[in-house]
Amino acid sequence: MSDGAPAGTFAVVGLFSEPQAIVDAATKIRSKKLGRLEAYSPYPVHGLDHAIGLGKSRLGALVLGMGVLGASLALLFEWWTSAVDYKLITGGKPLFSWQAFIPVMFEVTVLFATFTAGLAMLFAFNKLPFFGHPILQAKAIKDITRDKLALSIESAGADFDPEKARQALVEHGAESVEVLPIPSWGKSLTLVGLLRTIAAIAAACLVAGFGIYVAEKMVPVVPPMFRIHDQPKLNAFHASSFFPDGRGMRPAVTGTVARGHLPVEFKTPEEAGKLLVNPLPLTDRTAERGRKVYTDHCAVCHGVVGSGVSLLSSAYGAKPANLIADSARAQPDGYLYGVIMLGKNAMPSYAPDLDEADRWSAVHYVRILQRSQNAKDEDLR
């Protein structure tokens, strides 16, 4: 706290009755530069802040700065999330829709500004945590919290002279003067004290938690709000009295088509070969998707390279088509697509398992397998 003031003095405190008296005394004592001035008062006194030499608080500027910082950070974050990192069009609006960003910017501005105001005031300017201010040990504290005002000259270095300070206070009209020694810190900051505090908090949590548990389980009063499973709601696979047909799940509207499962206009793979062309361009992505679809669904019978030879086919005695043979290579893309959709011989339809893009990607991959097994000279260059 102090840095070696003689006789371990923290401050010299003088009591005053009249607001004007303390303002005048503070103005005069301040010019003597005896130490740091501090004032204690039960009510606001105009001009006292100037008299004890408090400058303009920097808190306002700090709050403004942090508010602007909050607004900028919020705008930056919103721009980055919605216009750069995860471009998702919402409601047909542009990706960078400043109108939608302003409420969040406003909230973050207020958040930064209020937290700065509160925390900076407490910790930066009022120097908390500060256990047991020495003034609380003074005899004068009773009067300060009632109707008297106190001017305190605090020790600000080795050259602090308590006697001079005492004389100055008396000379400028203090009714009584008291010398405050540097306090000996209480037991609240010892290890045992801290452990006791933590233990008390833990015990309070346990008691509160147990109390809530007992109240919730054993006292049958109004059920609490947080039993979310008790709310009235529709369950897809449960009965419900909400709809007249007594079902929770709604039947699909007639003519509903699932995404990627448009109804087909062909009856045989041959017809499909004449009707359809592959709408997907062959890219790294479609080739990779086709590889995955082929490996998951086709390779088990047609073999990893598409030759129609696999462990499973020999075990079941079936003869899956050789996809890399000339006959398969001669078929159009639409034919292969039609086989996936309708099935052929022992092969079932894969339409329910694969969506449209999966099927066309698989067709691309089959073409890649065919080319890899019938590579030409120029492929090596």
């Binding site: 105009h46 306002g60 403004l64 409601g91 047909g92 109108q99 939608a100 302003i102 409420p103």
Partner: protein, 385 residues
């Protein structure tokens, strides 16, 4: 405190000249550029004067309602500016002649428009006039009560009036919110009757309050400059700055909230009103609005030094007043098409500003510069921030 400054005949003659030149220009405008632009200007300036007057009548009643002391020494200023209300009422009655020109719901085609047919029980000429007359009667009665009563108190020193004024403040508030909403719906959003926005009444109220504070601060500063309010110090108008700052934010909040909700929902019948006003040639005008009504006054008034300085207060409140004019222009003139500003607008500005200043000048002749009969005046003068 009771001394009257010598009244200069020159200023009065200049104002009369302003009115004459402006009136001549306005008549020429009616003859040459057509009635719709004339009536748009007429409604714009009438509403400008009306909102300034109503805003100040509101400030007078607000002081009574909350029992404020700090504003008592300055109260004669809003009481005098409130005299714009009895000036604006006959102007609004004359504006009834322009209603068939400007308002689409009066036209014959309205009978074929399903939205306007649905709104016909509200938007029809007899009811429109009834509403206007009802509003005008309410304003004039309250004006008489608050301003006339306060003037009488100068001599009678009757403390009972202060109590009565406080008791009538809550009904005034109810009346004020209803009538401002009716003015907003009838005279502004009625110009494009297919549009609707529940918030529009609050929007006009926010503008009314904000510009009311601004013009009151201008009046106080002008009187201080002329040495007619020697006991009013910065600590009094500091509070006007605080209120102005708060309502700058409130106005921006209401304006933006209305815009954002309509922008987000993107409903065709709502969004077209804004689309017309923020795109194309109206975009620069729309950008002036937040500049004058929010950014300039907000950053000037946010620090405590700004609210203490008469110069900063002057600039900030002047910016608010310019913003209020731009606001009304931006609300009313898009019904005519692209932005127009020329000699017809300038003549109408001369005419109405001249009339407004003449009216305030007349009001300045009545009573002392401070409400010397108010028992709260001493408390107000001694008030400490």
């Amino acid at each position: 405190m009771n001394t009257q400054a010598p009244r200069s005949a020159l200023a009065r003659n200049l104002l009369l000249l302003m009115v004459l030149v402006g009136g001549g220009g306005a008549a020429a405008a009616y003859a040459s550029v057509g009635p719709s632009r004339f009536w748009a200007n007429w409604i714009l300036w009438t509403l400008f004067l009306l909102t300034l007057g109503l805003g100040n009548l509101f400030l007078v009643a607000l002081e009574r309602l909350v029992g404020a002391h700090w504003s008592v020494p300055m109260r004669r200023v809003p009481e005098r500016i409130a005299s714009l209300v009895p000036l604006a009422v006959p102007l609004l009655l004359i504006a009834l002649l322009g209603v068939p020109v400007l308002f689409p719901w009066t036209h014959a085609e309205a009978a074929h428009n399903p939205i306007l047919v649905a709104k016909a029980p509200w938007l029809n000429m007899p009811f429109f006039v009834i509403r206007l007359v009802a509003c005008a009667v309410a304003w004039l009665l309250f004006y008489r009560f608050y301003v006339g009563g306060s003037l009488k108190q100068d001599d009678s020193k009757d403390a009972a009036f202060t109590v009565r004024a406080r008791k009538l403040a809550p009904p005034f508030m109810v009346m004020f919110f209803f009538t401002v909403t009716i003015v907003a719906f009838d005279w502004i959003s009625g110009l494009e009757p297919e549009w609707y926005s529940d918030m529009f009444g609050v929007y006009l109220f926010a503008g009314t309050f904000l510009s009311g504070i601004a013009v009151m601060a201008q009046g106080v500063l002008a009187l201080i400059r002329r040495g007619r309010l020697p006991d009013v110090k910065w600590k009094h108008y500091y509070n006007l700055g605080t209120l102005g700052l708060a309502f700058t934010v409130f106005y921006a909040y209401i304006g933006f909230a209305q815009y954002m909700l309509i922008w987000y929902a993107n409903l065709p019948e709502e969004v077209v009103w804004f689309k017309h006003r923020i795109e194309g040639s109206w975009e620069p005008v729309a950008l002036l609005l937040p500049l004058f009504s929010f950014f300039i006054p907000f950053f000037l008034l946010i620090g405590s030094a700004g609210k203490r300085s008469s110069k900063v207060m002057f600039i900030a409140t002047l910016s608010i007043l310019v913003g209020h004019f731009v606001d009304l222009y931006w609300l009313i003139f898009p019904t005519l098409g692209t932005p127009v500003f020329g000699w017809p607008e300038l003549s109408m500005a001369l005419l109405f500003l001249g009339l407004g200043f003449l009216q305030i000048r007349r009001a300045m002749g009545r009573g002392a510069d401070m409400p010397v009969g108010d028992p709260l005046l001493i408390k107000g003068l001694e008030w400490q921030p």
